[in-house]
């Protein structure tokens, strides 16, 4: 029995080591947003400053790239949330012709490597003579996040008791009224989770975007583009702020879910 406990303790320590390893680059990112660097490169610690927070938007290309990323993420999330929820409802609630192939397509869309998705989309846009800009980026982002929304919504729809909807209909609610007042609120956590995932995937994407962006630059593209010349500390600050907001939303979501359960 004693050996068990020792084993458990080793595993416990090991798990924390892995967590520290996974978080180390984040700590570095946050720390070097406060680095009072004098030289061109931002690789060694030279003192504490809040300068980069004050001069957050002083690099206009970078600010534009961040704004582009956020606008594209909002637009693609809205489209994905609507059509992905519709598909999730169809797959979770109905039997219809082509359901098998639809499930398979959803699966293919999730598992196609980003590189293949990006390059094949570029082939399409080139052969259709479509200019590449924010619009083509949004098309691509909807494509790779659609399946994630569909799957989370479907998982929620499957657990929904159909008698609730029947009760609403029996009480004289219209089909649309039933959907809006019964079905939608019940599947909302799934829709919200899927939408958040879609937003995160969109803001984060580099590979697919690099194929379909034309001359539009997003936040990740700007960062990769400036690796050779050195990443300015403003990038660390923006990364830190995005990280902070993301963690806050996740924690709030977690607390809200716990409160609903009790």
């Amino acid at each position: 029995m004693k050996r068990n406990r020792l084993g458990d303790r080793v595993l416990h320590l090991y798990t924390w080591l892995i967590i520290v390893w996974l978080s180390a680059p984040i700590a570095v990112m946050i720390l070097f947003g406060f680095n009072d660097k004098k030289s061109k490169s931002n690789t060694s610690w030279q003192g504490f400053t809040l300068r980069w927070y004050q001069e957050l938007f002083s690099i206009s290309d970078l600010s534009t790239a961040l704004i582009n990323s956020l606008v594209i993420a909002v637009a693609s999330t809205l489209v994905t949330a609507v059509i992905g929820t519709m598909l999730g409802l169809a797959l979770g609630r109905f039997r219809f012709r082509g359901k098998g192939i639809t499930n398979f397509l959803v699966f293919v869309a999730i598992s196609t490597p980003e590189l293949v998705m990006g390059s094949s989309l570029l082939s399409l846009f080139v052969s259709a003579n479509m200019p590449r800009d924010s619009f083509t980026i949004i098309i691509a982002h909807v494509l790779f996040s659609l399946s994630f929304v569909t799957v989370t919504v479907r998982a929620r729809v499957v657990t929904l008791d159909p008698s609730l909807e029947e009760a609403a209909r029996d009480l004289g609610a219209s089909a649309w009224g039933t959907f809006r007042q019964v079905t939608l609120p019940a599947i909302m956590p799934g829709v919200a989770a899927g939408a958040m995932l879609a937003f995160a995937l969109s803001v984060d994407d580099y590979v697919v975007t690099s194929f379909v962006n034309g001359s539009t630059i997003t936040f990740p593209l700007w960062i990769v583009g400036s690796v050779k010349t050195g990443i300015p500390p403003q990038v660390n600050v923006m990364g830190t702020l995005i990280f902070g907001v993301g963690v806050l939303i996740a924690v709030a979501n977690f607390v809200a879910a716990r409160r609903r359960r009790t």
Partner: protein, 285 residues
Amino acid sequence: MKGRLTPYLLALPSWLWLGIFLVVPLAAMASVSTTTGNNIDGFVQTFAFSNYTDALSRYSTQLARSFAYGAMATVAMLVIGYPVAYFIAFKGGARKSTYLFLLLLPFFVSFVLRTISWGFLLADDGILLGTLKGWGLLPAGFHVLATTFSVVAGLTYNWLPFMILPIYVALERVDPRVIEAAQDLYATRLAAFRRVVLPLSLPGVFAGVLMTFVPATADPVNAQILGGTSNTMIGNVIQTEYLTNLAYPSASALSFTLMAVLLVGIFIYAKALGTENVLEAAANR
């Protein structure tokens, strides 16, 4: 919601999207991969399957390297991640979700930025190596960046949570009473693990491998940021062929080869375990 047309109307927008922007481009890519011609005069369909043999022999080094790096990273993730998933599933107790949350923390930072920060940690005169060199613990010429190790370590780092999560999900479903039963029947702890826990966790392992091997093998970012000129992977080749050389046929042939290898993987998986498991594991990430 009861109309017979309802499911079709609900699915229609997604069908269009997936059809026009996924199926058609993949088919187009397959078709382009056997064309000949150049960027100025256009490409003509000649069913030139030699594009495949040409591209594959020209870039066989990078292709082999990609599969090797992807495999090394996947094995590393499996070895590193399994004990973590095991600990959280069986010993995590009330703090299970806290552990999972901490494992997912890196995902709140952009993938590109994470990889750069990682390169930053490993830089020749960076925090780690610089300090160790300052203490005289490492020779001045020692470097980690631009080696096989740094690229594989970067891939391992970036996809580790995708390996841990599906294994955790599979282990979490194992009824502890099954293990107790094995031990009551005089199985040692090791035997109980090997004969009971491990087989039950295999679907999770399989899902984890599929969710990490494919993206790690095809990833151009880690090799670009953490590797040097001698660590180029197939992802970098495809990117350059498409975006810089505009060599669409050979780039398509390479992309399609990658996709074909993946499809074989999916097919084996779907046959063995059904698609819903992978999808759920993917959605719960």
